[in-house]
């Protein structure tokens, strides 16, 4: 589910998964998350009845009976036009669309699974005590998968619109990256690579996903001045900025682990963008679930790790969605680095450790760097049979 988006993943026209579907009022449910039976006019509904005549009426309208409960209800497939009549019957207590409740079961995304983060969690590594800053479009301040991990926020570009915080996410991108790095491990939605690190929103990109060199440099400086462990930059450009490079040096000197997206100019060679190409940053390329290089991924000698980036399901404001990009690969590394630094590694030690424990997936060195991120191995756990 939720993994079909290719390029079709921007705001406004993707299939999104509703955060939760409340039962009851039919009108309160959008099209999202409905279990469609294929035919556009046929929907799946749960019908509660108060008399056998209501049950018979529902079955008479049904094109298929999916389930009959031991209590007075059944799930049927029915033509949409029949719903109104059924729901008006005095012997029918309710007709509700059978929204798929998958958002309420936490799923292990292929990316988090592939880097064996769940093995690290099972061995007690959660990132607790680590501070991971997401330099991006902001983070949804009220997302149930993130709110328990949120620390401070700071906006160098203020969110446009009605938001609780000026560092709230008015795009989707930053919240998506935050969830990959560090969505909490509970019974719903998704979990991140790290699950109990503290997430900090540093909003340096605007509603459109764009930011000035100066604002991004200010964000990096801010992360350093807060003494946070990790700065995750799912952003870039083909040309650099001396001010941003200076900011990265400043942050690295103060112990910040900086990780950045290699860029989406692929297929191409020697085309890693900035700030990823700066030596202060660990550049991350992107892989797909079959361990191939993502077609869009930039490559080059600066690439140090490859991480999952194609069709990644994660948090967005008010729900979940699937995005692709080296943007998605980057926070996988940020989450793992946060765990290492929570365990006492310095930024330089974490960088070496992540590279030394990466898994060779057989790509060229300018494509995979040292290899695929292996969070479990970096944290000293055996994941060879996972």
């Amino acid at each position: 589910m939720g993994a079909s988006a290719m390029l079709d993943n921007d705001r406004g026209h993707t299939r999104r998964d509703a955060l939760k579907l409340t039962g009851g009022a039919l009108a309160g449910l959008g099209l999202t998350g409905l279990a469609s039976a294929g035919d556009a006019d046929t929907v799946e509904v749960n019908v509660g009845y108060s008399a056998a005549s209501g049950e018979r009426a529902a079955k008479a309208e049904a094109t298929g009976v999916v389930r009959e409960f031991n209590f007075d209800a059944l799930t049927i497939r029915v033509n949409e036009n029949a719903i109104r009549g059924l729901s008006k019957r005095p012997d029918v207590r309710y007709v509700e669309r059978n929204g798929t409740m998958h958002a309420l079961d936490q799923q292990l995304t292929w990316g988090v699974d592939r880097v064996d983060a769940e093995v690290a969690t099972a061995n007690g590594d959660t990132g607790a005590g680590g501070d991971v800053a997401i330099l991006d479009t902001g983070i949804d301040s009220d997302h149930p998968d993130l709110v328990d991990n949120l620390g401070a926020g700071r906006a160098f570009v203020k969110a446009r619109g009605k938001f609780a915080e000026d560092w709230d996410d008015d795009n989707d991108h930053g919240t998506h990256c935050a969830g990959i790095a560090d969505a909490d491990d509970d019974s719903q939605g998704v979990r991140g690579v790290s699950t109990e690190a503290t997430l900090h929103a540093v909003k340096v990109l605007d509603k459109r996903g764009s930011g000035s060199f100066s604002d991004i440099a200010a964000g990096v400086e801010y992360v350093a001045d807060q003494g946070w462990d990790v700065g995750s930059m799912s952003l870039g450009a083909s040309s650099g900025s001396q001010a941003l490079k200076d900011a990265c040096s400043y942050a690295e000197d103060r112990g910040v682990f900086l990780v950045a997206a290699a860029g989406n100019d692929g297929p191409c060679g020697d085309c890693v963008g900035y700030p990823a190409a700066y030596e202060e940053c660990l550049a991350v390329s992107s892989s797909a679930s079959d361990d191939s290089l993502s077609g869009f991924s930039s490559t080059g000698p600066e690439v140090e790790l490859v991480a999952p980036g194609t069709d990644i399901y994660s948090t967005i404001p008010g729900g979940y969605d699937t995005f692709s990009g080296t943007s998605m690969a980057t926070p996988h590394v940020a989450g793992a680095a946060g765990q290492l630094m929570a365990n006492g590694y310095t930024n330089g030690e974490a960088r070496s450790r992540l590279k030394n424990t990466a898994e060779d997936i057989g790509l060229a060195s300018n494509e995979q760097g040292a290899g695929l991120l292996d969070a479990a191995a970096a944290l000293g756990h055996d994941s060879t049979d996972d």
């Binding site: 921007d10 990109l205 040309s239």
Partner: protein, 120 residues
Amino acid sequence: MPERDDPTAVLDASVTAIVEDGDVDLSFSVRNPSDEPIECSFRDGQRVEAVAERDDGAEVWRYGDDRMFSMALGAETIAPGGETTFDATWPDPEPGEYRIRMWLVATAADASAETRVSVA
């Protein structure tokens, strides 16, 4: 997603430039003139590029040169007859007369327009 025979869809476009508080605010509108939805795909958070040129053709400013973008693939669908507007700001330009060119950076969809602006 609708299949199109023509790999590159062409959209109508227009650009306006307004000088305000010493900046040039650009507004680039694209319109789908066809009777099919047009899907504009993007490699990253950048949607448009804009340049300012002197009359001798020398480029004095390029929007994307001063900025960075989110690195997720993106797409915007423009409905038949539908219109979408993208903004960009040229901060603090030198006084002078300029030609402004602006275009969509989508793959498989083209839209471009130009205008002139006088900065006092």
